[in-house]
């Protein structure tokens, strides 16, 4: 349903020793929107999305994803929930000892039966690869691909289970501006095709401009500002302004 929160984060705190990364951080992400979280390096953006998928446990607070309180969820329901969430890692995290096809088939091993994999596995892999424009790389190894191609393959792997939520951790970092723009446009097109909700961690202004419906500024561990890209760009707040100059 439109505008019903898909992700609800309430007063989340996370510290690493004396470094208090997230301080009572709260936000909502609505169905079908592309939310960008913008902040300086080391401000806790990646920690936040890793808390959302529970790669990192929050110290306190509540995180609900698709109606499930993620903290304290048992392993089996957590794995079920994770099958509805795609995650694009900053480093792509492709399995380097597997081919592109095996990389994409990997999530299917757990969530599909053997019969389903035999019947529909290849077509699902081909569809995901076609969506990112790299169907011809199916038998290649990740080491044979360029940085931009690896990013696309990682995105195809994140899409293979047709997730309802896609989390992007700095999707354009390390890419040249042209490839970065292509990836940003690809993110918008897959979001439309899959009708997915996206949370994008980025400090690449081009990527934010192309992909965002809404931007949250994460400053000093808090939700400092929450508005559209254009409105934030016009802001006179010095802490916000320094990102747009």
């Amino acid at each position: 349903m439109e505008n019903e929160p898909i992700i609800e984060v309430r007063q989340v705190n996370k510290s690493f020793g004396k470094n208090h990364v997230l301080r009572d951080f709260s936000m909502d992400v609505n169905q079908g929107e592309n939310l960008v979280i913008l902040g300086k390096s080391g401000s806790g953006k990646s920690v936040l999305i890793k808390c959302i998928i529970r790669l990192i446990d929050a110290d306190s607070g509540s995180i609900k994803v698709l109606g499930n309180e993620i903290n304290g969820l048992d392993q089996e329901p957590l794995d079920d929930l994770r099958s509805k969430i795609g995650f694009l890692f900053q480093s792509n995290a492709l399995y380097d000892s597997m081919t592109v096809r095996q990389n994409l088939e990997f999530p299917l091993r757990i969530h599909w039966t053997k019969e389903e994999r035999l019947k529909n596995g290849y077509s699902a892999v081909m569809e995901a690869l076609t969506d990112v424009g790299l169907a011809h790389t199916i038998d290649m190894m990740p080491s044979e691909l360029s940085g931009g191609m690896r990013k696309r393959i990682a995105l195809a792997r994140a899409l293979i289970l047709r997730p309802k939520v896609i989390l992007y951790d700095e999707p354009t970092t390390g890419l040249d501006p042209v490839t970065g723009r292509e990836i940003s446009e690809l993110m918008v097109s897959v979001q439309k095709k899959y009708n997915a909700t996206s949370v994008i961690i980025s400090h690449d202004m081009n990527c934010i401009r192309i992909t965002s419906n809404r931007v949250i500024m994460l400053i000093e561990g808090r939700n400092y500002a929450d508005d559209t890209f254009e409105n934030l760009k016009k802001s006179n707040d010095p802490k916000i302004k320094e990102f747009f100059t």
Binding site: D79, R82, Y95
Partner: protein, 259 residues
């Protein structure tokens, strides 16, 4: 708090032992759960076992050859040259072949697992498995530890057999022992008390090599430097554990009267 308690609480050495114990406990917990990764287990048996055959075979042959050549002059001095095949076979089967095989495997397999998992950790591949709903501990750790545990006895048995062939060659470089007499003397002196304890301890060697390699790799940190450190420390700790297990195994066989 007295200094001893402070040391126990803050010692990185004791902390590491505790963490390895917890890691081992998790291994047994995961192996008891249903849905094992059989395909990956067989794949690991291939890499750990089959891919080590030549290395272990060549080493075993050289072990037997060198031990026989080195032992001969001493036995000749005592007029016991005829005891050469018996002495060499007991030394090889009971101690030298299993321990040297385990040390070679600690180097090859322990470092390989440590580096592979370490590299997967620092490039977020383990995290990627986790978010895809796969249990990375079961997929990566359980399969490798099980493969190492089951393949070490196979490799050690191979090393035992080939080292005895090496011994035959060594006995005939300076002396003259017929094929039949050599094997008669070898099997005449060996009994189950020699073979079984030696075989059983190789399961523990394999387990130790697998669990240490996986532990070091799984919790690797600090980028590529950390990967290198994981591989190196995996070899060092696994080799040390091989000797400790061997020491314990000798005491147990002694207590059971199998020596």
């Amino acid at each position: 708090m007295n200094p001893l308690s402070t040391y126990i609480k803050e010692s990185p050495f004791l902390k590491e032992i505790g963490e390895i114990a917890l890691f081992t406990k998790r291994f047994f917990k995961e192996i008891a759960k249903p849905k094992q990764e059989y395909a990956e287990f067989l794949n690991q048996c291939f890499w750990i076992g089959y891919k080590s055959l030549i290395l272990v075979g060549v080493t075993g042959f050289i072990m037997g050859l060198v031990l026989t050549i080195q032992s001969r002059p001493t036995l000749v001095e005592f007029g016991a040259e005829s005891m050469l095949p018996s002495m060499v076979s007991v030394s090889l089967i009971r101690e030298i072949a299993p321990v040297i095989t385990a040390l070679i495997c600690a180097g090859k397999i322990g470092s390989g697992i440590g580096a592979e998992l370490g590299s997967m950790r620092v490039t977020e591949q383990i995290d990627a498995m986790e978010v895809s709903g796969t249990n990375p501990f079961k997929y990566l750790v359980v399969t490798r530890v099980m493969a190492a545990t089951l393949m070490l006895p196979v490799l050690s048995s191979l090393a035992n057999a080939i080292s005895l062939y090496g011994g035959y060659l060594g006995a005939n470089i300076r002396g003259n022992v017929s094929w039949n007499l050599y094997w008669f003397q070898v099997f005449n002196v060996l009994n189950y008390g020699d073979v079984l304890p030696s075989l059983i301890k190789t399961f523990f060697f394999g387990f130790a090599i697998g669990i240490i390699g996986c532990y070091k790799g799984y919790y690797s940190q600090k980028g590529t430097e950390g990967v290198g450190r994981s591989a190196t420390t995996a070899v060092i700790v696994a080799s040390l554990l091989v000797f400790i297990i061997d020491l314990i195994a000798v005491q147990i066989t002694d207590l059971l009267g199998l020596t």
